[in-house]
């Protein structure tokens, strides 16, 4: 891929960087704000202790039978207990978010969507093995550099107020840790954001448990906007909100993207996602099986992957048709994530 390619608006269905565009995709000739390539995250799992012990005892019995066996019990214990295998949770994920774009990452729970969000934020589990490449704003990133970006140029909007400290007033949490002059500036910024999103001055003095669903949603948005980020990762921002508030939430994200930011919208609600997103990354079984323009969801023939088509068929306006094993799996998996 050469940079020159990016200076032209992509043609519909043109494939580059593992994804396709529609004629109305906002690509603006800019380079990718975020680009994830071949991201694989795996965990080393040890066999459960019971199984390990059983092997240990059987190994000992065998050892006792064969007199030539010199390995002591300590060694065979080590050998049997350390039976381990790598389990890949994310498998070769490719994803891109351009400036001015909302990309919806759609898929069932347990598919690894949140893990993807964590990876982009440079939050890696110490036991995880991470492979792949990640660019932000044209610069290839490492775990170390992502750590510096997170919260500043890449912001997360969490799912609920459970992500706020229950014992700290909302205002102080939105402002974050700061000292001296910076503290004053941040206080001003917080007041400005609260005003912009219709939050009363007194909301700053409330505790998270005192917020209503709509207020909480806007407070979390303000947290993300404090540092004027370029990319927002919204993790299920509509869960637990009624349709009106969910629509407001997505409109705010759309506005952020239209203002020159990028949004990675993680959701299980493909209906809402299709309303606001430019492109959809269909997440299935630990990877993005298809990254395509929203326009492709106009007809199943435009979708490449069977899972995407199954999603299309599962949409209410298409009669919730569930046919074949694949689609069955879709509806049951998607059903798990319905908010209560």
């Amino acid at each position: 891929m050469t940079e020159t390619m990016h200076h032209n608006v992509h043609r519909a269905q043109e494939r580059h960087h593992h994804h396709t565009h529609a004629h109305d995709t906002r690509h603006g000739g800019d380079h990718h704000l975020l680009q994830v390539e071949d991201l694989t995250i795996s965990f080393r799992r040890y066999d459960d202790a019971e199984r390990g012990l059983r092997r240990f005892w059987s190994a000992r019995r065998k050892g006792a039978a064969g007199a030539s066996e010199k390995a002591g019990p300590a060694r065979s214990l080590l050998a049997t207990l350390s039976v381990q295998h790598e389990v890949a949770v994310l498998k070769g994920v490719n994803l891109a978010v351009h400036v001015g774009e909302v990309v919806a990452v759609v898929g069932a729970s347990g598919a690894g969507k949140t893990l993807l969000a964590d990876a982009v934020l440079g939050l890696f589990d110490p036991h995880a093995t991470v492979r792949g490449r990640l660019w932000f704003d044209g610069v290839e990133q490492t775990a170390e550099s992502l750590r510096k970006l997170r919260g500043k140029r890449i912001a997360l909007i969490p799912q609920s107020v459970a992500s706020l400290d229950p014992l700290m007033k909302v205002g102080a949490q939105v402002r974050g840790a700061a000292h001296g002059v910076e503290k004053e500036q941040r206080a001003a910024r917080q007041r400005e954001l609260f005003e912009r999103y219709g939050l009363d001055e007194e909301v700053a003095g409330l505790y998270p448990s005192q917020l209503s669903g709509g207020m909480a949603r806007r407070v979390l948005l303000c947290c993300a906007l404090m540092e004027e980020p370029q990319l927002i990762i919204a993790d299920e921002p509509t869960v637990g909100l009624d349709l009106d508030r969910a629509t407001d939430a997505l409109a705010d994200l759309r506005a952020f993207a239209d203002g020159g930011g990028g949004v990675m919208l993680i959701t299980h609600d493909i209906e809402l996602a299709l309303r606001v997103a430019d492109r959809v990354a269909v997440f299935h079984d630990g990877t993005v099986v298809e990254e395509t323009a929203v326009a492709s969801f106009a007809a199943p023939e435009l979708l490449e992957h069977p899972f995407s088509r199954a999603l299309w068929h599962a949409l209410p306006e298409h009669g919730l048709r569930v046919d074949g094993g694949g689609a069955n799996a879709v509806s049951s998996q998607m059903g798990e994530e319905q908010p209560c």
């Binding site: 229950p166 974050g176 409330l206």
Partner: protein, 326 residues
């Protein structure tokens, strides 16, 4: 207001029950107050008449409920009776002993709280590290060791072998009470207080560690990380705040534990406090003193729990305000 009335009511009921139970238990105990207090030999030499006279004087010949009602009447007027063993008013014995015990307990309580909290947070934040393993190992060993044994070990090592601390009592042997300086008192209190504080450290540290681990894995700490907050800032802003709440409850509930421990520690160090007096009173069939001590300790524990509740209400916003809707 309703809160105050309810708690005063509870307190009075508690005092009534504690005194009744203590009275019943001591009366049911197979201890003859005459024999214990006069001595086996002296009792043998006494005439039956003299014995009956003494029994009547101490009230040992009358049924328990009669004595209880009489005691209760006097107690309501502030007279807790005479101590058989110390031959002085119970209130006087209590006042003198309580000062020693409270000083000992206060030092042990603060020490165990501060050390326990610090160790717990440290271990919890660095879960799985060598610090965590060290703290946990230390706590398990501590929790598994009986207090009196730790007291004896400290006594042998620090008082007998190293000679850093006196081997017992609250003041130098033979010194007049007017000559005892503050430093002397402190020096005598140090070893028992240290022993007593160890009782609490393990408990506090392990509980604090659990809570710290829970907080560290909470969504709000994860989110703070995602917002780019550093570890130090997270510990200062979120961990300490959220751990201090259960810690406060624990710390005040700990008063009961520390008081229980003080009985053993005072015995080991011959420290003239309430714990030691309680043992003397119990073995000597000294009902009045034992009831006095039981009431005092019950009041102390009640007060501790009450303070814990009050503080909880003050520092936990979730218990103060109603949830707003809008």
């Amino acid at each position: 207001m309703r809160f105050a009335v309810r708690n005063i009511g509870r307190f009075l009921l508690l005092m009534l029950l504690v005194s009744l139970v203590t009275f019943t238990l001591v009366s049911a105990a197979p201890i003859d107050p005459l024999q214990v207090n006069v001595g086996q030999a002296a009792l043998m030499q006494m005439s039956d008449e003299k014995r009956a006279q003494l029994a009547a004087f101490w009230g040992a010949d009358r049924p328990m409920y009669e004595r209880y009602v009489e005691w209760l009447g006097a107690a309501l007027q502030g007279d807790l009776g005479m101590s058989l063993r110390y031959n002085r008013p119970v209130v006087q014995v209590l006042a003198e002993r309580a000062a020693n015990t409270l000083a000992l307990m206060a030092v042990a309580w603060v020490l165990s709280g501060v050390i326990g909290f610090a160790l717990g947070v440290l271990a919890g934040v660095r879960k799985g590290s060598w610090i965590d393993r060290l703290v946990r190992g230390y706590c398990f060993v501590l929790a598994a060791s009986p207090t009196f044994w730790i007291g004896l070990v400290f006594l042998v090592v620090f008082a007998v072998n190293l000679g850093w601390f006196p081997i017992g009592f609250s003041s130098p042997i033979g010194a007049l009470s007017t000559e005892v300086s503050f430093v002397d008192a402190l020096h005598h209190m140090a070893l028992p207080a240290l022993t007593l504080s160890l009782v609490g450290v393990a408990n506090i540290a392990l509980h604090t560690r659990e809570k710290t681990v829970e907080v560290m894995e909470s969504p709000y700490v994860r989110y703070a990380l995602a917002r780019g907050e550093g570890m130090g800032s997270i510990v200062r802003r979120h961990v300490l705040r959220n751990v201090s709440l259960p810690f406060t409850t624990l710390q005040f509930a700990q008063i009961a534990e520390i008081f229980g421990g003080s009985v053993l520690v005072e015995e080991v160090f011959s420290y003239p406090g309430l714990g030691q007096a309680a043992v003397t009173a119990g073995l000597g069939g000294d009902v009045a003193l034992l009831v006095g001590i039981a009431l005092f300790s019950a009041a102390l524990v009640f007060g501790g729990n009450l303070v814990a509740n009050l503080i909880y209400g003050v520092i936990d916003p979730r218990m103060r305000k109603e949830v707003l809707h809008g």
